[in-house]
């Protein structure tokens, strides 16, 4: 293994891990370095699969995946000590967390230019993967899987295509996408049905949506040419992500208060390309005011 990157001590860790871990940088295209954090399996690192985990955004860090989702330990609320995650995915797999693209988390570019796109990200991720196997050559035999979450619905399959068709000898078995963005059109289209059938808006709006967006039973809530339809869809989307609901989990409260800051708008603008935030023109459930928190 690549000894200089091995992590043998972590502040706030009161327990002794039964796995090894490395943190360092992988080479993407020249001048770009992606930070990785690799933990071996708590069971059988030699035989267990190798899994790459990618969070989405675009622009969000996979260390959120490590420290809040499926990593071997998480951070206590005090921001200082760590606790073990009994459901860590490294119980049965070697897991590589990659902060991608450059500019995300500790990943960086020498020129500090961070404009990029889906294909550049996939190319850089593929180069970084080859850099990983150069550092950890004895993992090339392990079965290999790629996991992506959210905008990772774009990252995972595009990187998978490069792995599956590239020259690097990787024992690639499959890929998985969690709550992923697979199609903008379907993501928009289905959200209207999700909203109505979860009771987020009532018959008035639903009837108007059907009247203005549907023709002989075929509905287009994604890119209708009807301005009225677009306005109504905006109202529906506004209820979903601008009325006080937690868009990431309908039945959970919203932890960090209101959503008017820039980062939020950006994330949602990537997911809902046609949504233009407008004042509510359609009376919704007695006038939901934006002051609900």
């Amino acid at each position: 293994q690549y000894a200089p990157d091995e992590v043998t001590y972590l502040p706030g860790m009161k327990f002794k891990p039964n796995y090894r871990q490395w943190s360092g940088f992988l080479q993407a295209q020249p001048g770009k370095y992606l930070h990785y954090w690799f933990v071996t399996s708590q069971r059988d690192p030699v035989k267990d699969p190798l899994v790459l985990w990618l969070n989405g955004g675009p622009g969000c860090s996979s260390l959120d995946g490590f420290l809040s989702e499926n990593g071997p330990f998480h951070v206590n609320d005090n921001g200082a000590t760590l606790y073990e995650n009994p459901f860590s995915w490294n119980k049965i797999a070697n897991v590589l967390y990659l902060e991608s693209p450059a500019g995300v988390g500790y990943s960086y570019s020498d020129d500090q230019k961070y404009a990029t796109d889906d294909d550049q990200v996939a190319d850089d991720n593929y180069k970084a993967l080859q850099s990983f196997f150069a550092k950890f050559p004895n993992f090339t035999q392990n079965e290999f899987f790629i996991f992506g979450e959210s905008y990772g619905g774009i990252y995972a399959p595009t990187l998978s295509l490069r792995v599956a068709t590239g020259a690097a000898k990787i024992n690639f078995k499959g890929f998985s996408v969690g709550n992923g963005l697979s199609s903008f059109a379907l993501n928009d289209q289905t959200l209207v049905y999700f909203g109505y059938y979860h009771g987020l808006f009532g018959e008035d709006l639903w009837r108007d949506l059907n009247t203005n967006c549907c023709d002989k039973g075929n509905c287009n809530f994604y890119n209708s040419s009807s301005q009225t339809c677009k306005t109504l869809v905006n109202v529906a989307f506004g209820i979903v992500y601008n009325s006080g609901l937690n868009e990431y989990a309908l039945y959970l409260d919203c932890e960090v208060g209101r959503r008017s800051h820039k980062g939020y708008e950006r994330t949602m603008s990537h997911l809902f390309k046609n949504y233009k935030k407008q004042p509510h023109t359609h009376k919704v459930s007695g006038g939901v005011s934006s002051s609900i928190s």
Binding site: V7, P11, S23, G24, H35, P49, P58, G59, C60, S61, L63, D64, G65, S68, E69, N70, V75, G79, F87, I92, A102, G103, V104, Y108, Y114, D117, D118, F145, E149, S150, G153, I154, T158, L161, F175, S176, V177, G178, N179, G180, S183, F184, A185, L186, D188, T190, L191, F194, E247, Y248, A249, L250, Y251, L252, E255, V256, K262, G263, R266, H270
Partner: protein, 150 residues
């Protein structure tokens, strides 16, 4: 320390990851800026090229790879219906009916398989399934990487 996505409390991670001794332990050069959950620089300058990844999936599946598309079914950022319709729109023959799967003797969600690709929901979980349903998420993960039953 920058903007964070709403409804997610990542204060603890940001605090810990930006400690000097933690950065040192993780071999992070002092010259690098503070860590943040999401990067404005990347997010604001990012260009999406794939409105859909349907063709990419079809190519990968034609190569015999296995795929799992899973959704926590309370998420509205990427709701489960959108991904279910996406998998169905691939036009592959269903090899199982739509059925429930169990974890700890409870229905953990629903799934259907279409040859090498499985669509699966995780009941009651939000956008980050391993965070909000860690037990069912681990079960699903193990079933997928071992090609076992859900």
């Amino acid at each position: 320390l920058g903007e964070v996505p709403p409804c997610i409390n990542s204060t603890a991670q940001i605090t810990w990851l930006n400690r000097g001794d933690v950065r040192k332990a993780l071999h992070i050069p002092d010259t690098l800026p503070p860590w943040d959950l999401c990067s404005d620089a990347v997010g604001e300058q990012y260009t999406n090229l794939y409105p859909t990844v349907k063709d990419v999936y079809l190519k990968l599946l034609s190569l015999g790879l296995r795929a799992l598309v899973y959704n926590g079914d309370t998420d509205m950022a990427c709701n489960f219906l959108g991904d279910q319709w996406f998998v169905e729109d691939l036009g592959l023959k269903a090899t199982t009916k739509y059925q429930n799967w169990f974890h700890d003797d409870q229905i953990a969600g629903y799934y259907q398989q279409f040859g090498n690709i499985t669509f699966l929901t995780v009941k009651g979980a939000g956008h980050m399934v391993p965070q909000w349903a860690p037990g069912p998420a681990f079960h699903m993960f193990q079933s997928f990487i071992t090609n076992g039953y859900y």
